[in-house]
């Protein structure tokens, strides 16, 4: 089903996505007692990068150039299927979440392949970690979706989130609270935020996402940066759809509630990042398997 009237919201998402990173950075700066970079710094960075020329190493092939473009295209297409809480997404059909997450998967695949294409040992290391962690997050993701589908009896993200109402929260609050916790862990892992990966680190040995994109420059790096902002937006949107069960039917109320949910999520991510240290790399799989365990509990709860 195609809702053209939701298209403006997609453009709004495209425009607002880097803002989440700005809010996270501002929260971190405030809690560290710094003044911090301007809220719009990510936009400035993107504009600066887009004006620059890209530098390509002679060892790379077309794969390296295609990586950022394909990944950004995948994310953009995925954005069409993400509902704003109760407001329908532009494109929705039964099973659209599978397409959505595999579009993200294609993006990640090409970023990984592009990293391997450079032949740098650091980038290979980052690529291997990224592949490992995403293999661990995938069962969690699908366990979350199975739980949501079982709770609401709907098969598309739009209908599914439309059913997440205060009534559902009162009837199966336990499962929903667990889902929120798991989705937060997923958001932090998938977007390489702090307990898993430190986006501000400058040591290649400990990086995951950043180390894979070291060789990208100019517009390519802008695409990568913007792509990670979009990915953060998509995961936050799913989480916001759960924690803000405002389904009044009016686009204005729902939209504002959704946006305030997004703001709250980036503040929470900022707080998590400023209070926690990065986990040792060995502990990340343990945390993810723990999240899988919680997800299994969720599924069993809905089986009753």
């Amino acid at each position: 089903m195609i809702n053209l009237y939701a298209l403006p919201l997609v453009f709004l998402s495209l425009a607002a996505a880097p803002m989440l990173l700005g809010v996270i950075n501002r929260v971190k700066a405030i809690s560290a007692g710094r003044k911090g970079q301007p809220l719009l710094q990510v936009y400035f960075d993107l504009l600066k990068l887009l004006r620059k020329a890209a530098v390509y190493s002679r060892t790379t092939t077309w794969i390296f150039r295609a990586g950022p473009v394909i990944s950004l295209a995948g994310l953009g297409a995925a954005l069409l299927m993400v509902p704003w809480g109760g407001i329908p997404a532009t494109v929705s059909f039964a099973g659209d979440f599978i397409l959505l997450f595999y579009l993200l998967g294609i993006g990640r695949f090409f970023v990984i392949v592009a990293a391997l294409d450079t032949g740098s040992s650091f980038e290979g290391m980052g690529a291997s970690r990224e592949a490992f962690f995403s293999a661990l997050t995938e069962p969690i993701l699908f366990a979350v979706l199975i739980t949501l589908v079982r709770l609401t009896d709907e098969l598309s993200l739009t209908d599914l989130f439309y059913q997440v109402t205060p009534i559902l929260w009162t009837s199966s609050g336990a499962a929903l609270i667990l889902l929120v916790v798991i989705l937060l862990i997923l958001l932090l892992t998938e977007n390489s935020r702090i307990p898993v990966d430190d986006p501000t680190t400058h040591l290649e040995l400990t990086m995951i996402h950043e180390v894979m994109v070291l060789d990208h420059s100019g517009p390519d790096f802008a695409f990568v940066l913007y792509g990670s902002a979009l990915k953060l937006w998509i995961f936050s949107a799913l989480l916001a759809g759960l924690i803000i069960p405002v389904r009044s039917g009016s686009v204005l109320t729902d939209g504002l509630a959704f946006l305030s949910g997004m703001l709250a999520i980036s503040v929470i991510v900022g707080i998590v990042e400023s209070t926690m240290a990065r986990l040792r790399l060995l502990f990340v799989p343990r945390m993810l398997v723990g999240a899988t365990a919680i997800a299994a509990v969720c599924i069993y709860l809905t089986l009753k």
Binding site: G173, A174, L178, P285, R286, V289, G290, T292, A293, I294, A296, V297, Y300, L301, L303, K304
Partner: protein
């Protein structure tokens, strides 16, 4: 509310499987003990008020505070703070935990019950804790962790009892509590003696004792 407690009991089981620090394990056990103590309060129904409150106070006191206190002391005395290399690592243990959870829900749905209003979830949770306890006993090396495993197993049995038989005489329940209390007491002394004579509490090395 009761559902919430059962979910938390499952989660503490997983925390227990995934953590190697003994102090943390003991705290988890204390939390589990307090959660267990609250169950009769929430589902007591028609039982006599004084009896329930006595049960709640005693079980929270013993499982939530006294036992953790003794275990912490045993841990300090034996000078073992961490389960170093279990037979099966912590991450695989959690995977085994997921299997146990599936198995216990399956078993709980298969068992025939007379009164099917509340118990299915309770049975699943109790079986899960029994499995987790057994698994910890066989997969960890340190005697103290095995004691913790025994207590988790016992918690599972306790959930089963509380969920089903609100009307079991107070004396029986208190008797069980006393048994556990004495058992932990004895095990604490054992651990102390093992660590005093061998400088460690690795139980798998006990098999190579020479007469």
């Amino acid at each position: 509310m009761l559902d919430m407690i059962f979910v938390l009991l499952i989660l503490t089981g997983f925390v227990f499987l995934g953590s190697g620090r003994l102090q943390f394990g003991i705290r988890t056990l204390a939390v589990q003990g307090i959660l267990l103590g609250l169950i009769p309060l929430l589902e007591g129904g028609s039982a006599w008020w004084g009896r329930i409150s006595a049960l709640v106070i005693l079980s929270i006191g013993i499982k939530g505070f006294a036992l953790p206190y003794f275990l912490t002391r045993a841990m300090r005395k034996s000078n073992v703070l961490h389960e170093d290399n279990p037979f099966l690592g912590f991450t695989p243990s959690m995977l085994v935990g997921i299997l146990c959870l599936g198995g216990s829900f399956w078993l709980a749905s298969r068992l025939p019950f007379l009164d099917s209003s509340q118990p299915q979830m309770a049975v699943a949770v109790s079986l899960f804790n029994v499995f987790v306890g057994l698994f910890v006993i066989i997969s960890r090396r340190k005697a103290l962790t095995q004691v913790l495993g025994y207590l988790v197993l016992e918690n599972g049995v306790y959930i089963f009892g509380v969920a089903f038989t609100v009307n079991v005489p107070l004396l029986v329940e208190l008797g069980v509590l006393l048994d556990v209390f004495v058992a932990v007491f004895v095990m604490g002394i054992m651990i102390f003696h093992i660590s005093k004579s061998f400088d460690h509490i690795d139980t798998d090395q006990l098999s190579s004792l020479v007469g």
